[in-house]
């Protein structure tokens, strides 16, 4: 009998100890006699180096990559230095793009703006863009959802952000889709920042959804592109633009091959009034080794008249919706070589120097 009691006590103690061990933060969840592949103590070491815990068990230590520094932030800085080194090989005027970056740098994006209503209701306004060239219609789409009772018609008012003058107004009518309203309002007003006030009746009371947009002056006319040609290690694409006003202009555009974004191109220069040309260049580092089929397209052209002095507004103009399509000249001489970009190279070297400590 005493032996049974001792056994029972021993079992309880073992059970409590075992549970405590399982709950312990020190428990790595792995039996000690299983091969660990020479793993470091997982509780104490940095999170940022080494080979996979599971797969390492079956691998020889010598097969693992060399572990970087134990300093996690140091590792991140070294990683940035390596990434930046790669991006520094592209000149500022011609950088490669991921699909997401291509969308982001199209410019003139508008993300729907939501206003919460009581409960789970939402009042959302969507525009097709943020900047409107003076005279373009502003298409407004609004949606209302929630348990509230909404009116059949919404009103939209355009108000100057600085003077607060009412510039224009329109009604938004319910569409066939329940809860959606649509209408158009004129942008033929003095360029500047405006507030779009969309008013709905919610449970019989007015609720105003307010967001900002910009009306841009007409900066001039895009006149197409001249024949592209290869010069040095660049594909040169001259873009004609006839500005209405002299100033310093920056042009950006995206080079596509079909649906594939190849590069974001940019150029800037002072321009007088009348006919002018801004020269975009696609560097060999973004074109060589690419499987280019058929025509190339220059899309999402965005011209900015840069602020002459601090405090001035930047003005925007946009190229044709379809962009320009052209047959590329022979690109066989382009080379995938780093561009000469002194400042970026210096930056990359300094970041490398900084990261080498880790």
């Amino acid at each position: 009998m005493p032996y049974k009691a001792l056994m029972a006590i021993a079992l309880v103690v073992a059970g409590i100890s075992g549970t405590a061990w399982l709950l312990s933060a020190d428990n790595d969840g792995e039996f000690g006699w299983l091969p660990s592949g020479g793993q470091p103590n997982l509780q104490e070491t940095s999170a940022i180096t080494g080979a996979d815990r599971g797969s390492a068990a079956g691998k020889a230590v010598t097969q693992r990559p060399t572990e970087p520094s134990d300093n996690a932030l140091g590792f991140m800085l070294a990683s940035v230095a390596a990434d930046y080194q790669r991006s520094a090989r592209y000149p500022d005027y011609s950088i490669p793009l991921t699909a997401d970056q291509a969308e982001a740098y199209q410019g003139n994006q508008y993300h729907p703006v939501a206003l919460p209503l009581e409960g789970d209701g939402r009042f959302i306004v969507t525009l097709d863009k943020f900047r409107f060239t003076r005279g373009e219609p502003i298409l407004v789409v609004a949606s209302l959802s929630g348990r509230q009772v909404f009116g059949d018609t919404l009103s939209a008012t355009l108000e100057s952000a600085t003077e607060r003058d009412k510039a224009d107004s329109a009604d938004l009518h319910a569409t066939e889709d329940s809860g959606y309203y649509q209408g158009s309002i004129s942008s033929d007003h003095e360029p500047g920042e405006y507030r779009l006030i969309v008013e709905a009746r919610v449970d019989g009371r007015p609720v105003r959804h307010v967001s900002s947009l910009s009306i841009e002056p007409d900066l001039g006319n895009f006149g197409g592109i001249d024949s592209p040609y290869v010069s040095g290690n660049d594909l040169v694409i001259p873009v004609r633009f006839d500005p209405d006003h002299a100033g310093y202009y920056a042009l950006s555009a995206q080079l596509f091959n079909g649906q594939r974004a190849l590069a974001q191109l940019s150029a800037e220069d002072s321009m007088g009034t009348g006919s002018g040309t801004l020269v975009l260049k696609a560097h060999g580092s973004v074109l060589a080794n690419q499987d280019i089929q058929g025509q190339l397209q220059l899309r999402n052209l965005q011209l900015r008249q840069m602020p002459e002095r601090p405090g001035d507004r930047t003005h925007y103009a946009f190229g044709p919706d379809d962009g320009y399509e052209f047959s590329p000249p022979d690109l066989g001489d382009l080379r995938d070589e780093p561009a000469v970009n002194t400042e970026s190279e210096q930056r990359a070297a300094l970041l490398r120097q900084l990261a080498d400590k880790f």
Partner: protein
């Protein structure tokens, strides 16, 4: 033995880091040998009472950074929040930019440290500074990198709401109004929002947003500000003021939960609603679930920092981080192998800013 030595070294490094925090007044005004320039964020006090002159703006700028960075910087760019980025803010900032150029403080490359709206202000300045300075015969500033702490360059939904609240009657949605009041410090009116106008997500993301050759290093918080009343109105996760989509440098204003698709703000290694893309040369470096909007720039400790290890290839080596994670078991997880976390060891014993500063000056 090696691990013990590493542990000992990391404890020593941490002690040095903590000492660095204690003796801030004797700190050098450089990061890794480069002069530091500070650009502060939105100051709500400026909306209720506009600064009377530039001296007041400078004083407020000094106070803003006093907690940690003030004595670790060579220069500041201060601006008043009742203005607009493409307006008086650019004018005020340029006066200081000009002085920095004249003093040659960036001849050997500067590091700019921004907080919150300072991200947006800096973006506009960097896009234009070379042309503005050269037109006066001055040397453009050479910038090595920008450290964006809780960067608001992608805007915040709180600013979207503030503009709407300014036009709505008093009965409208009380929790929204309280959140906006907490964020702006005022009862918003159409003409008293200042830089909050620029912080609307669409306005911010259409301002000086072109690709840049200057690397933007992003430091991201995830804690609560204002008792948590703002959180329900910000898309995805946030630090109480700025959404994670902005702080990370994500290419859209869609709500996300982390800068990584595989690591949470808390460091848990698991699938995440991360950014579909990042702006060019934007690099999320550290996240901290516990650090709120202010804590990212000040001396608050107790928050674990998490490295944003999206890129697992370094110097051509494929690095797998799993082996260096630690297993943290929730109290109710009696069985199984536990969740895996990634973190900067001992980072809860220092502030994120001090971690950054001491690492770079190590």
């Amino acid at each position: 033995m090696i691990n013990k030595n590493k542990r000992c070294l990391s404890k020593t490094a941490l002690s040095i880091a903590l000492a660095g925090g204690l003796f801030a007044t004797t700190a050098q005004a450089q990061l890794a040998g480069h002069n530091v320039i500070l650009v502060h964020g939105f100051m709500m006090e400026n909306l209720s009472q506009a600064p009377a002159n530039m001296q007041e703006v400078k004083q407020a700028g000094e106070d803003y950074w006093r907690d940690y960075w003030l004595n670790r910087a060579e220069a500041r760019i201060d601006w008043a929040s009742n203005g607009r980025v493409e307006g008086t803010i650019a004018q005020q900032a340029y006066q200081q930019l000009r002085q920095i150029s004249q003093q040659g403080l960036c001849n050997n490359y500067c590091i700019v440290v921004t907080h919150s709206t300072g991200d947006l202000v800096t973006r506009h300045l960097l896009e234009n500074q070379a042309r503005w300075l050269q037109s006066e015969g001055l040397q453009p500033l050479k910038i090595l990198a920008v450290m964006d702490l809780a960067g608001a360059g992608g805007g915040t939904e709180l600013a979207n709401l503030a503009v709407s609240v300014a036009y709505n009657d008093s009965w409208y949605n009380w929790p929204v109004k309280q959140a906006v009041r907490a964020f702006t410090g005022i009862d918003p009116q159409p003409d008293n929002l200042g830089v909050v106008n620029d912080l609307q997500t669409n306005t911010a993301r259409n301002l000086s947003v072109g690709p840049t050759g200057i690397p933007r290093l992003r430091f991201v918080g995830g804690g609560s500000s204002y008792g948590g009343i703002t959180k329900p109105f910000i898309a995805g996760t946030d630090d109480g003021v700025v959404p994670t989509h902005s702080a990370c440098g994500a290419t859209t204003a869609s709500g996300i939960d982390s800068c990584s698709n595989s690591i949470s703000l808390a460091g848990k290694v698991t699938g995440q609603n991360g950014p579909s893309g990042l702006y060019y040369n934007h690099y999320p470096i550290l996240m901290s679930e516990g650090a709120n909007h202010s804590a990212v720039k000040d001396t608050q400790t107790g928050n674990i920092s998490v490295p944003v290890v999206n890129n697992t290839v370094l110097n051509g080596l494929q690095i797998d981080f799993a082996s260096r994670t630690y297993n943290q078991r929730a109290w109710w997880q009696l069985w199984g192998s536990g969740d895996q976390y990634v973190e900067v060891p001992n980072s809860n014993q220092t502030s994120m800013s001090n971690l950054l500063y001491t690492t770079l000056n190590n």
